[in-house]
Symmetry: C2
DNA sequence: ACCTGAACACCGTTCAAGT
DNA sequence: ACCTGAACACCGTTCAAGT
């Protein structure tokens, strides 16, 4: 532990990895740049070469979170057999389980920020939204809902899942209740959109 | 500024008031006990007599937030004229506007916490839930949904509104989009629950 | 019961200097 | 290009002591 070269060579990745662990195990308040540097075996000023400040590190974490969440949702949907309702359910469940596994990270990803998300975070979030949209699109053909309702339904399901996730993370409901709510939401959304073919937003 | 009595007499309330302002204007990261003490004109140790630590202050803020939100939702619902759908819409809109006015506070109220909310916060949150439940109950009689669906529908609408609020606060959608989504959600939920009288959660 | 003020350990951030 | 290490200003928290 003494002949480590001057250049770490891997510092950025190591910091992010450690940061995710701290976030998961001890929450965002316990996340300190100095501690991360200490554990990486570098001086406390070193992280500055990779993250301009603590917030930049948090942004990078949020960005990675969105990418991972999008991947997990897409995979879950791809593996789901059968009709589009089951696909939606699988995607939604994957979303909820991500929040269950990484509550602090999920919080960070959707935290209220005065100036909005950084471009990188925004792009990663859009990736998730695109994934959800393409999954929602599979329900158009079989006589489900109309193609022009996809955007709105995606947003509606997305916000609902996000709300369920927040309720679980803040211990307002249990995970089981959350999954039941997800089922209800999908059923009602789909049924409502397919049955009431008149525009739902009509006054 | 020199003949102030030893006992502030009002410190707890002043700290909370100032804290809400800081939270609103500069976010949770800018909230410092020492600064609050400074602005209240007391020593930095003084807040300790009222809040055991920073987290206790945050809990008190969240608790007050839930009480205020419940009040605003109840009032909005009471003032809403006409049928229960409009009442629900008014209640939901009040909820969204609270999040718009106090994004950081709303974040705090629904933040993921490892050990769950404190008893006081939990009680205040329940007050909000009770308010939502009683509003949702007004839709039972007129041939809307079944009485045994009220609990589930309340939870579903609550999570959905929360999700919409989070999407707005994190700049994922605009406030106008959020209100449109709320309309859609209410329409679909009500329509789905009233029309499909078979249990929505049935597999 | 409430507040003061010193003390302690910890931060984030900056920046000249080194490699 | 990346890292070191001193320096600065700021925290939260504790606690004996004052009123």
């Amino acid at each position: 532990m003494s002949d480590r070269p001057f250049h770490h060579g891997n510092l950025r990745a190591v910091l992010l990895e450690q940061a995710e662990t701290v976030l998961r195990e001890r929450g965002i308040d316990a996340l300190s740049l100095r501690e991360l540097a200490r554990e990486a075996g570098v001086s406390h000023g070193a992280p500055r070469s990779h993250f301009i400040d603590r917030n930049a590190l948090l942004d990078a974490l949020a960005e990675r979170g969105f990418v991972r969440l999008a991947d997990e949702v897409r995979e879950a949907a791809a593996k789901a057999p059968g009709d589009y309702v089951r696909t939606l359910r699988a995607a939604g469940t994957a979303y909820l389980r991500f929040g269950l596994r990484e509550p602090a990270l999920a919080d960070l990803m959707f935290a209220a920020k005065a100036d909005g998300p950084s471009p990188a975070v925004s792009a990663a979030a859009e990736r998730l939204f695109d994934t959800m949209t393409s999954i929602m699109s599979t329900g158009v053909a079989p006589g489900g809902y109309d193609a022009r309702d996809v955007g709105r339904l995606t947003l509606l399901l997305g916000t609902t899942i996000q709300g369920i996730s927040a309720f679980i993370a803040s211990h307002r409901i249990t995970a089981a209740q959350g999954e039941a709510l997800l089922d209800d939401a999908i059923t009602l959304f789909i049924a409502g959109a397919a049955a009431g073919r008149q525009s739902p937003s009509g006054k």
